[in-house]
Symmetry: C2
Subunit: 198 residues, 2 copies
DNA sequence: ACCTGAACACCGTTCAAGT
DNA sequence: ACCTGAACACCGTTCAAGT
C-alpha cells in the first residue's frame, strides 16, 4: 500500500469538497477556514499553502457553482436545439432548480460574499460564459419572434434579471406564504418569464 | 449643564446610527458589534443591554432600510395619484435609486445576512407592508390595462422580481461593462419593466 | 514542496460586579 | 436600569520550523 506521503495526494481538492459540504450543511455563516481544514484532517494553517485567503476558497467554490449552472444551461439548449422557446423555458427551469437545490452555493455566487471578484480570472470567465449562454438563447428567441426585438445583451439582462429576482425574493423569504401556498416557485418563475414573451 | 448620566441618553439609537455608518463605510464584512460599541463610545458589552445579539442589530438596521424604501414608494404613489402607469415607473425608479444609494443597506436587507427574519416582527411587518404597496400599484395598473390580468399578488412578485433581479445582477457585478457603458441602470431597469407592460 | 504549532489581533457572547 | 471588565471559545492570518 502507498505510504501516506505528507497527508494527502490532493489537499486542494479535498479542501474545496470540505468547503462545499460545510456550506451546504451550515450555510455561509458556518463556513470557516479552520473548520474546512479540520474536516479535511489537516492543521488550520495548511489551507494557506493552496489558497491565499478565505476569499480565495470562496471564489473557487463559487466558480465550481457557476460551472454546474453553466452545464445545466448547456443541457437545456442542446436538448432543444431547434426550439428557441423551449430553450428559454427549459433553461429557466434549470436555473430555478439549480438555485433551489443549491441555495447556499447560489447565495455565495450572487450575494456579494465574494468581494473582489475581479481578482479571480476563472470566476470572471465562467460567469461571463454563463451570461453569453443567456444572450445566445435570447437572440434565438428574438429571431423566432418569442422575445421582442432589442439589443440582445440588454434583453438578456432583463430575462436573467427576471428569473434571478423572483428566485432571490423567494429564497430570502420576501414572498409571503399566501402566494407560495397557491403555486410553487417554478410556476411563479414561469409566469414571470411569460410576461416578457409574446 | 446636564450631568452625563451613565453615558448616553439614548444608547440604543446611537448604536443603530453607528451601525449604519460603519455599514456604509466598510460594508457588511466590516460591521462588527465591537466596532459599533467603540464608535458609540461604550464598552464592547454595552450593546447587549439593548440588542439580544448581532443579528438583532442587523434586523433593526434592515427594518430601518425597509422603512425608507417603503416611504420612497409611498411618495411615488402619492405624487402620481391618478396615473397608475406613472406610479409603476416612478416607483420602479425610486426602488432602483434606493438600491444604488444604499447598496450596503440593500445587501443587508436582501442577501440572507439576516438569518431568522421570522423572529423580528417589525421587520416582517414593514417588509409585508412594502410588498402590499407593490400589489396596490400592480392592481391599479391592471385595472388601467397597463399590466395583463392575473392574480395581483403573483404579478407583484413578477414585477418586483424583475426590478430586484436587474438591480441585484448589476450590484453583484454580473452585468458586463460592455452593457453598462451603453446604458445606465435606470435605463436597463426601465427597459426590463417595459417588457412586462403592454 | 507541503505541512505543523505557536503566536497575534480580532470577534461574539456571557457574567459577575459596579453605579 | 444601564454599563464595565475580565473571561471564554472561536476566527483569519502569519511565520519560523520541521519533513
Amino acid at each position: 500500500m502507498a505510504p501516506k506521503k505528507y497527508h494527502h495526494g490532493d489537499l486542494k481538492n479535498a479542501l474545496i469538497k470540505a468547503g462545499i459540504k460545510i456550506l451546504s450543511k451550515e450555510g455561509i455563516g458556518g463556513l470557516t477556514l479552520r473548520k474546512v481544514a479540520r474536516l479535511a484532517g489537516v492543521s488550520h494553517s495548511a489551507p494557506y499553502a493552496h489558497f491565499a485567503d478565505k476569499q480565495a476558497l470562496i471564489a473557487t467554490i463559487s466558480t465550481e457553482g457557476f460551472k454546474r449552472l453553466h452545464a445545466a444551461l448547456d443541457s437545456a439548449v442542446e436538448a432543444n436545439a431547434d426550439d428557441p422557446k423551449r430553450q428559454l423555458t427549459e433553461g429557466a427551469r434549470a436555473y430555478v432548480q439549480f438555485a433551489m437545490n443549491n441555495a447556499d452555493a447560489f447565495q455565495i455566487m450572487f450575494s456579494g460574499v465574494l468581494e473582489k471578484e475581479r481578482d479571480y480570472p476563472s470566476f470572471v470567465e465562467i460567469s461571463h460564459k454563463t451570461f453569453e449562454r443567456v444572450v445566445d438563447i435570447v437572440r434565438a428567441c428574438q429571431e423566432a419572434g418569442v422575445l421582442r426585438p432589442a439589443p440582445p445583451e440588454i434583453m438578456a439582462v432583463a430575462v436573467w434579471g427576471q428569473l434571478h429576482g423572483v428566485v432571490s425574493l423567494v429564497l430570502e423569504g420576501q414572498v409571503s406564504g399566501k402566494v407560495l401556498d397557491h403555486c410553487d416557485i417554478q410556476e411563479i418563475a414561469h409566469f414571470a418569464l411569460g410576461q416578457m414573451m409574446s
